[in-house]
Amino acid sequence: VLVSIICSPPQNYPLYIRSVPTENELKFHYTVHTSLDVVDEKISAMGKALVDQRELYLGLLYPTEDYKVYGYVTNSKVKFVMVVDSSNTALRDNEIRSMFRKLHNSYTDIMCNPFYNPGDRIHSRAFDNMVNSMMMQVC
């Protein structure tokens, strides 16, 4: 089970949500929204420190009953949140990091598209493909 979501500031509304499998989606949406608070908390905790690449990855936000939530924030405060099943113990931190990096790269590719207005929902097929392949890898 894997859910990924991208939220953009300032209102933190989601730009992209994808979950595999697709049942219980609402629960995951709820989880992601609650985790956004944790993300904000972590960001503010950094204070005025310069954020470099390492710190973009926020790590395990908090483990809930049966899944873990990971967070990642970009320099422009676009938040990526990923929810994975706790039973999926095969996922290591490195893999999560690499997944976030891939997400980030694809996101920047989307940004390069002049027809994309920041703040729009993401409909890019390339992005979808990338996310799908990533999720298939995990599940």
Binding site: P9, P10, D40, I43, S44, M46, G47, K48, A49, L50, V51, Q53, T74, N75, S76, K77, H104, N105, T108, D109, I110, M111, C112, N113, P114, F115, Y116, N117, P118, H123, S124, R125, A126
Partner: protein
């Protein structure tokens, strides 16, 4: 398999005798025909990848030789298969040789195989068309590895001739074969490839690879055979490969691939590119391209997808090949083709580059960020030479992505600042050029639906008498030097322009045009309507197209200009109003002539004032642009410096 005999025959014709005959008494000499035959049989009866020749199939073969069973047993024993437990190539060949010997009446002994023997005859073998070959050629000191080696040489054009020419010959006796059998055993699974490629001399590279590797385990035997065979094989292989390649190319060319850009289309796209960006080696920024393609009236999501497809390096800018690909996709979409999920091979930048595009993309590419980019991590090197080199890697878009991502992560934010002024430089360069021709500006009435010759001609003839400043009433008016564009068009026009203009039609003018031309446009063989019409319509379109890219810049300038102009107007109005005031002061008697003179002077003064104000206007506009540029630079700086953690 069919080519085998031919290859063998020619090889035989060309071979000199080998030198390594005399060394080992345990050599197993095989003539070429024998080699051929044996390899064929071996390949037939020892199908890989499983173990050695199955006893059953080999037994079948042996039985077909119509030798008495005890002879066969003897043969099996002698060749060493019994000892080894399977029929390796060594065993198989020896067995065949023994069969031939037996069939010729010789005793089944090892010595007998040294004699010249006809090929073993097998009755009732399937596909046994080549039952016998001619008289055995003279014995060469060719070991039976020769087939392997020749095989590999055949496949490989690799001339390890040095190896082959060695007179060294490893002993090839059944006694010695067991030690060698492990290697031969390994080779067995590959024999099918061996057989085929040896006889076929064709394009099997995979199997030959393996055979090659395995054969390397044995010493390269020498033989004059090789000289001819490899050469022949090489040539045939080369021919076949090149034929394949050509075939591929030609087939691709022949097919009516909608994703293939014809020459005329390419020329048209290049001209369009030139209208947006005079330097063909450079690129079009995202915003410019966005405006350009928005004119095509395709829905934004589709344009977004087209961009995604065509901007291969995802840098927010279109190089010439990318631009051609994007334009082509737009055209195709306009004509009803569904957009592909991935960029067709013929639209890849490398492909377009290779297809003898004029642009030289070896120059460094500059970044150009669209303003939509947040001043964040998307930064690029100023000269993306590494990207250019990465792009040169053929057929590896994944590689491009990786290279790009590395770039992204590696670069500093500060370059974004440089890029934005650079982008503005592009615009300012363009607009400056336009500024210099400001006096030639003329209002453009947007009529997308009409592409008639008369309209084109009209607009083409308008430039000579442009009004001094752009009309405020036209939202899309620009001071673009249409005259220059038109001249460019006429110079660049070729007779074969028809196909491109119709494709360009859909994006620009109404869709009604597409129905007319949709059938014809992508077919290179269509008849051309009068060239004049195309030229004009295309010229007009180009003019039309050329305008919008400058639109955003112009709009900004114009609004300011309007702001500037209004105060400018008022002075002139004041001037003119002052003039009438002057008039009543004149004595009534000389009113008429003095009035006339006064009016003339007033007119002259007005004209001078106008000229002065126009000049002032242009200077102020220039200053305004620069100020805008600075402002944007400062704003991005500010954004960078703003603390990230501010929520």
């Amino acid at each position: 398999m069919e080519q085998g005999p031919a290859g063998g025959a020619t090889a035989a014709a060309g071979t000199g005798t080998s030198s390594g005959t005399g060394t080992g008494s345990l050599l197993l000499p095989l003539s070429e025909s024998e080699q051929q035959r044996y390899s064929e049989l071996f390949s037939r009866y020892c199908p890989p990848p499983e173990a050695a020749a199955g006893g059953s199939s080999v037994g079948e073969l042996f039985r077909a030789s119509q030798l008495p069973p005890d002879t066969l047993h003897q043969i099996t024993e002698v060749c060493g298969a019994k000892r080894v437990g399977y029929f390796g190539p060594a065993q198989f060949y020896i067995a065949l040789k023994l069969i031939a010997a037996a069939q010729s009446g010789f005793p089944v002994r090892i010595e007998s195989i040294k004699n010249e023997l006809p090929l073993p005859r097998f009755m009732a073998l399937k596909n046994d068309s080549e039952v016998r070959y001619g008289t055995p050629a003279e014995l060469h000191g060719v070991k039976f590895q020769v087939p392997h080696a020749t095989l590999e040489k055949n496949s490989y054009k690799r001339t390890d001739e040095g190896d082959k020419q060695e007179p060294k010959s490893p002993p090839m006796s059944p006694i010695c074969s067991p030690p060698a059998s492990p290697s031969t055993y390994q080779r067995i699974p590959l024999s099918y490839g061996y057989g085929k490629s040896r006889s076929g001399l064709e394009q099997q590279h995979g199997a030959p690879y393996e055979v090659r590797h395995s054969t390397h385990q044995q010493d390269g035997p020498s033989s004059g055979n090789y000289g001819a065979k490899p050469a022949l094989a090489c040539s045939t292989l080369n021919r076949s490969l090149s034929a394949e390649r050509e075939q591929q190319d030609s087939s691709a060319h022949c097919s009516d691939d909608p994703w293939r850009i014809t020459e005329e289309q390419r020329d048209y796209y290049i001209n369009q590119f030139r209208s947006l960006q005079p330097d063909l080696n450079s690129f079009i920024s995202g915003s410019v391209a966005k405006n350009f393609f928005t004119k095509s009236k395709l829905p934004i999501p589709e344009l977004s997808h087209i961009w995604e497809l065509s901007d291969v390096d995802c840098d927010g800018a279109l190089t010439l090949p990318e631009f051609c690909a994007a334009f082509h996709l737009v055209v195709a979409r306009k004509n009803g083709y569904q957009l592909p999920e991935t960029l067709p091979e013929t639209l890849l930048p490398e492909y377009l580059q290779a297809a003898s595009l004029k642009p030289m993309r070896d120059c460094a590419l500059f970044d150009s960020y669209s303003e939509s980019l947040p001043g964040g991590q998307q930064t690029r090197d100023f000269s993306r030479t590494e990207k250019a080199s990465a792009e040169e890697v053929p057929d590896n878009s994944a590689l491009l992505q990786d290279a790009k991502k590395d770039d992204k992560q590696a670069l500093k934010v500060s370059t974004a600042l440089k890029t934005i002024p650079k982008e503005f430089q592009h615009l300012t360069v363009k607009t400056a050029a336009q500024e210099s021709n400001a006096l030639k500006a003329r209002p453009r009435s947007r009529s997308y639906s009409s592409t008639s010759i008369e309209d084109a001609m009209k607009k083409g003839e308008e430039p000579p008498t442009p009004p001094p400043r752009p009309q405020k009433s036209h939202s899309r008016a620009s001071s673009l030097d249409l005259n220059k564009i038109f001249q460019q068009n006429t110079q660049a026009v070729r007779s074969g322009w028809l196909p491109p203009p119709p494709p360009a039609l859909p994006p620009r003018p109404s869709v009604s045009q597409t129905e007319q031309v949709s059938e014809v446009e992508l077919h290179p063989q269509m008849n051309r309507p009068p060239a004049q019409a195309e030229e004009n319509s295309s010229a007009k379109k180009e003019v039309v197209l050329a305008q919008p890219p400058s639109k955003p810049a112009r709009r900004k300038l114009r609004t300011e200009a309007q702001g500037l102009e209004t105060p400018e107007l008022s002075p002139t109005i004041n001037v003119t109003s002052s003039l009438p005031a002057v008039k009543p002061h004149l004595p009534v008697q000389k009113q008429s002539s003095k009035q006339k003179r006064a009016i003339q002077t007033a007119i002259r003064k007005n004209k001078e004032a106008n000229a002065v104000l126009a000049r002032l206007n242009s200077e102020l506009q220039q200053q305004l642009k620069e100020v805008h540029k600075e402002r944007i630079a400062l704003e991005t700086q500010l954004e960078q410096l703003r603390p990230v953690t501010v929520l």
